[in-house]
């Protein structure tokens, strides 16, 4: 292992032999990975390789998919997140998620962001809440665009705006771990830069996992990278190593743009 590896930091999440079946189809085959605290881990891999699936395992969103079966163990701070006496709700509050397809609620922009803080009781009063909403929107680089229309429905936003709204919504809860499934896919370079900056900033205090198709983005924002292929975790390690010096042939091919 490389000395600059983030794994010498505290490990937040450990996954061991995680498998996922959708009905009879196996989508993940024995994934084992450690995700360090206060660092950004990037999942890369061709479309359909299981990145989102694994991400959904981490905050147990797969529970909500009928027919999905998860095997293996995932621990957050040493605690098995699939143990029966774990509180899923608390888990999801601690592990926030930004979905691949933006899914704003059919409520106002304000309420979209305020929803999480409200249910978790994070704001003492209205002005607290206003502040949370504004600062979250600002961090997601959306505030300027929507400040005049906070009471309009979130579903009336453009694709990229919706994506940023979902990011704002997720960080408004102040999760310890943030899972982002292609958070910048619908964003222009500047907006992307804002989000990347946000990620960088969040990294100071939180654990972040990001799925991305952009090697550049992975290289820019992440400290560790994991490469998935056909449901297998092919290689993982410090981002620099992966991009400059991949051990595995497949990883190399993917990074070089030879397999998809």
């Amino acid at each position: 292992m490389n000395p600059t590896d983030m794994l010498d930091r505290q490990i937040r999440l450990t996954a061991r032999d995680v498998t996922v079946h959708y009905g009879t189809k196996q989508a993940l085959h024995g994934i084992s990975i450690d995700i360090p605290d206060r660092a950004v881990t990037a999942f890369i891999g061709p479309s359909g390789c299981g990145k989102s699936t694994f991400l959904r395992c981490i905050n147990r969103m797969n529970d909500t998919i009928e027919g999905a079966k998860v095997g293996g163990t995932i621990k957050l701070d040493g605690e098995d997140i699939y143990s029966p006496d774990l509180d899923v709700v608390e888990l999801r509050a601690r592990i926030g998620m930004v979905f691949q397809k933006p899914n704003p609620f059919p409520k106002s922009i304000y309420d979209n962001v305020a929803y999480g803080p409200r249910i978790h009781g994070l704001a003492r009063n209205k002005s607290d809440l206003d502040e949370i909403v504004v600062s979250s929107l600002r961090k997601a680089g959306l505030f300027e665009e929507v400040k005049d229309r906070l009471q309009e429905p979130g579903t009336g936003l453009s694709g990229g705006q919706q994506q940023r709204l979902c990011i704002a919504r997720a960080i408004a809860v102040g999760p310890e771990v943030i899972l982002m499934d292609e958070p910048c896919s619908a964003l222009d370079p500047i907006a992307t830069a804002v989000i990347e900056e946000l990620i960088d900033e969040l990294r100071e205090n939180y654990t972040i996992v990001i799925v991305t198709h952009s090697m550049q983005q992975a290289a820019r924002v992440s400290q560790r990278t994991a490469f998935f292929h056909l449901g297998h975790l092919i290689e993982q390690g410090p981002t620099e190593d992966i991009f400059t010096n991949p051990v595995n042939k497949q990883t190399q091919d993917y990074i070089m743009g030879r397999i998809g």
Binding site: M61, L91, R94, G96, F99, K107, G116, P175
Partner: protein, 457 residues
């Protein structure tokens, strides 16, 4: 018989025309590689439409005016001197006799020779006009077909035409609902007005005593609406108090919590409640629920009558549970899963997700389900007859017997009452009143729903 012949002819026309359009379109497509705007099915339907409409128009005209023409003809067959001697009722009677003779249907009393002659003349007239009309319809249809066929080209927007016709058909279907309303109002209104010639509308709408007198004579009794109206509202309110929480919670549980298998079994079982004849519920209420409530009331020191608004309301509430539960369940099930995921992903509990995200999103449909349930409650009769005590007295206590508008409608219309007197005519007035009252309630509901809905979407 005539109807069967007409239907058969129409079917044949339909088949022929569709086939014609279809094959012409096919030929267009294969002959010259041009792009045909619409698919052969649409061309087929297009020519079918062009064929059926003229034919149907002819048939409808015949149905509409044929009667009048036949009548005029029949009148013309009555000898002049006889005709002059007849008054309106006599003429009608004579025509009825002639028509009866013409349709081979005997008449009472002796048949005058001119009646016999007129009868057979009308008979052959009827036959000829029927045959003529049929031929005319076929010709008109054929002309339509020829025209349609000549119009079928690659550029013809047959699909648009067909779809316009489809949407007109759909419109016609919603027209059925309108026609029903018109029919209901029409079938109520004249008799209701007859009622108001007996009873002062003010006494009816603002009267507080309901005591029809059937004994005959000038004293018709009192027809105050208010006791019935309050009874209706009270029972409906109680029924909704039972059905809405139970139904909605059941829907939520079934759609969000219950395993699939459980849901598949339980939902149909609950739906059975909607199909049990209401008289069964009525006796259940009268014999089981009422005494139970009375004893229960005694136990906790409340004076509950065995037959009361409460009994009827509760049992009615049970009956309409499936209207709330099954429809809401379907609608909740239809909310896109991404919304649910969004809420879960933020750490919302299941109940929070349901209350804050799913219910608002499904609100319009759920309100529809509530309205349906209310409507059933308002319109229900049998349960109230048996369980509410049939006591049309103005009082506000749900533990006392009441009566409702619907019950009175049934009682007055189907009793031994004089069907020309206010005792029975009041049924129509009540029906009309209930219609107007629920109309107002519905307008109000629509208004509320609109205001409420605008927050979302």
């Amino acid at each position: 018989m005539n109807a069967l012949i007409v239907a058969g002819v129409l079917l044949v026309l339909l088949g022929v025309s569709y086939q014609t359009g279809w094959s012409k379109s096919r030929n267009l497509a294969t002959a010259n590689g041009v792009k045909v705007h619409s698919r052969p099915q649409y061309h087929g339907s297009y020519s079918a439409i062009w064929t059926m409409i003229p034919a149907l128009v002819i048939l409808l005209l015949w149905a509409w005016f044929g009667g009048g023409i036949a009548r005029d003809y029949a009148v013309s067959q009555i000898p002049q001197d006889t005709l002059l001697a007849l008054d309106q009722a006599g003429l009608n009677n004579a025509l009825n006799r002639i028509n009866a003779l013409a349709s081979g249907y005997g008449v009472a009393g002796d048949v005058a020779p001119w009646e016999q002659a007129a009868g057979s003349a009308v008979r052959s007239f009827n036959f000829l006009t029927f045959a003529g009309m049929l031929v005319l319809a076929v010709v008109a249809g054929g002309a339509g077909l020829v025209y349609a066929r000549s119009r079928i080209t690659a550029r013809l927007r047959a699909r648009n035409t067909v779809e316009r016709v489809i949407s007109l058909l759909l419109l016609a279907c919603s027209g059925v609902a309108i026609l029903t309303t018109v029919g209901i109002v029409a079938s109520l209104v004249t008799e209701a007005f007859r009622f108001f010639t007996f009873i002062n509308p003010i006494d009816f709408f603002f009267g507080t005593v309901w005591a029809p007198n059937n004994a005959g004579g000038a004293n018709h009794g009192q027809y105050g609406l208010l006791p019935l109206l309050t009874g209706t509202l009270m029972i409906t309110a109680i029924a909704m108090l039972v059905a809405v929480p139970v139904g909605l919670m059941a829907a939520i549980y079934l759609s969000q919590y219950a395993p699939r298998g459980f849901r598949a079994v339980v939902k149909p079982f609950i739906e059975i409640l909607a199909g049990i004849p209401t008289i069964v519920f009525g006796f259940f209420a009268l014999v089981t629920v009422g005494p139970f409530l009375r004893d229960f009331g005694n136990a906790i020191g409340l004076n509950i009558n065995a037959t009361s608004a409460l009994t009827a309301g509760i049992v009615m509430g049970i009956m309409i549970i499936p209207f709330v539960s099954s429809l809401s369940d379907d609608i909740l099930n239809q909310v896109p899963r991404s919304l649910r995921d969004g809420a879960y992903g933020l750490g919302a509990t299941q109940s929070e997700t349901i209350r804050n995200v799913l219910l608002p999103a499904a609100l319009p449909g759920i309100v529809g389900a509530f309205l349906l349930a209310v409507s059933r409650a308002v319109g229900e009769t049998m349960i109230v007859v048996l369980a509410a005590g049939n006591s049309p007295i103005l009082r506000g206590n749900p533990f006392e017997p009441v009566s409702t508008i619907t019950v009175s409608i049934v009682n007055q219309l189907t009793g031994d009452t004089d069907f020309t007197g206010p005792q029975s005519l009041v049924g129509f007035a009540l029906g009309l009143t209930l219609f107007v009252v629920t109309l107002c309630l519905n307008i109000f509901a629509l208004y509320i729903v609109r205001r409420f809905r605008e927050q979302y979407e």
